[in-house]
Amino acid sequence: MTLISQYSLKNNRKIIPILLIIFFILFLSSLMIGRFKISISILGTILSDIITGDTLSPDFVSQKLVFLWIRLPRCIMAVLVGMCLSVSGGVYQAMFRNPLVSPAVAMTISIARLISIKPIIVMVLAGMVVLSFFNALLMILKYFSDPYDELPSIVFWIMGSLTRVTWHDVFITLAVTSCGLLVFILLRFRLNILSLGDIQAKSLGINPFISRVILIVLSSFMVAMVVATCGQIAWLGLIIPHMARTLVGPKHETMIPVTALLGAIFMLAADVLARSMTTAEIPVGIITAITGAPIFCFLLYKNRGSGWL
């Protein structure tokens, strides 16, 4: 009899600690980098002050204010946004069995899908149609908006940015993201089965409808949350799950945590670039879009012939 020990059951789980180290280094450095530089010693003082509850010497007051009310919530938000968009993108892809489904398209598909069950390619096309329809509505909105006041804010929202993040936003997003992540991690094996398609899931005793409703509602809620606070941040939901699959394979047991970590790392890096590349800040959505496209091409090239892309 063949023994189980001859097979590698855990798909490269070694990568998780490495990603965690990268994540922590990046998080710490993103706390320091920006228009308002906070050196590592000052960061240490501020952090120890927060922990011990001491008051700072007056020279550090402004640093502390910037750190506590702007830098820290922003960095945490970057982490949350990264996790949220990439993990929900990964879940969408598993449920629609389609590598091109990103949250933006899938949200519309899911509504159509709930009404009646149709071939998935029709759903994707329907998603594109609805998307372009809403784009048209957005254009009408832009056309009629006040060019001095409303138009810039619409444009900035479309570009996606983490500039106006408050602690309030952070807490709500944190609640939604952790709730979603928890459910996705609990249902990790079911996601594998759902990714085989409806008939297969049913023959394996799983009601695809209920699982799908739970997963779609949750991931749509996560995406909606992020879009409402930070605007459209492109590509994340599409490329990060692909990256994770390339690294550790498609099993959601490892793929979901790796996607979350990669998403957080990617978003933190994009946000650091956004606020340090030029003197004026670049909307982070532009950074993700510019870097996302070539990365996606690379992944397409790398995964060619794996039979799926």
């Binding site: 249902l187 094996f189 005793g205 799983i206 394979g249 498609p250 799926w308």
Partner: protein, 264 residues
């Protein structure tokens, strides 16, 4: 010799897709340790029938008894614990390893929020080993050949349950030799594990070689059903496939059918 019991019984089963009648008044008893073949032309309702049996479709009229329990009152999970299916074809999936696909057969026995453990993987490996396919375990499911896929899916079905196995046109992607080997394996299972096998098939000659009983399905209605030897006659083949066939005797017990037109 294991005891033969009735595993699935359908009583005047009917199924509708919208307003279109797909299956009409089908009654049959499937017993353990026997291989039943369902023959019919394309679109005669073979696949739909199989899908009704394992609860993917809900019958419009009639009822299905699985081990004596009405399937209407069983959850999908309960049904899946005693019926597994090897589907006709698989859409491309994520690049899972074969072992990961096989272990998914354990799904009905695994809690909603748990993952397969070592024991489940061992079962999956055992199933692959019994089918002489242990070497496939670590390969990408999308990259193996159609025949290997079929074997992998059979392993997955076995891991799920060997009580009742449904096969939807199992020999579709197999080459000449593999067809026979695959069905031979199934037949062995049938005898050794006392499995109830129900297979929809295209080739009456294969059905004649392996099946214990046959159901002839035409436009969702049963033309004839019963033991293979009794049912597989020139007359029945002609009516079923709307052709004029010739019976060729190979030996005293074995014969094959072929359309008259190719013999001329």
């Amino acid at each position: 010799m294991a005891l033969k019991t009735i595993k699935i019984q359908c009583k005047s089963l009917g199924f509708r897709y919208g307003k279109k009648d797909i299956l009409h008044n089908i009654s049959h008893k499937f017993s353990s340790g026997s291989f039943c073949a369902i023959l019919g032309r394309n679109g005669s309702g073979k696949t739909t029938f199989l899908h009704c049996l394992n609860g993917i479709h809900k019958p419009y009229t009639g009822e299905i008894l699985i081990n004596g329990n009405n399937s209407q009152f069983m959850s999908q999970r309960e049904i899946a614990k005693s019926i597994s299916i090897v589907a006709q074809e698989y859409m491309e999936i994520f690049p899972f390893k074969v072992l990961d696909v096989v272990v998914m057969g354990r799904a009905p026995f695994i809690g909603m929020t748990s993952v397969p453990d070592k024991k489940d993987y061992q079962l999956a490996i055992n199933a692959l080993t019994t089918l002489n396919a242990a070497k496939l375990a670590n390969l990408n499911f999308n990259k193996i050949s159609g025949g290997e896929r079929q074997i992998a899916m059979l392993a997955s079905a076995l891991v799920q349950t060997n009580e009742i196995i449904l096969l939807d046109e199992p020999t579709n992607h197999l080459d000449f030799n593999k067809k026979y080997l695959f069905l031979f394996k199934i037949k062995q299972l049938c005898k050794i594990k006392n499995t109830c096998v129900i297979a929809s098939m295209h080739d009456p000659n294969l059905a004649m070689l392996f099946a214990d009983s046959v159901i002839l399905l035409n436009n969702g209605k049963i033309i004839d059903q019963g033991p293979t030897k009794k049912i597989m006659t020139k007359h029945n083949i002609d009516t079923l496939y709307k052709t004029d066939s010739a019976q060729i005797d190979i030996s005293l017990t074995k014969k094959i059918f072929m359309p008259q037109s190719v013999l001329k």
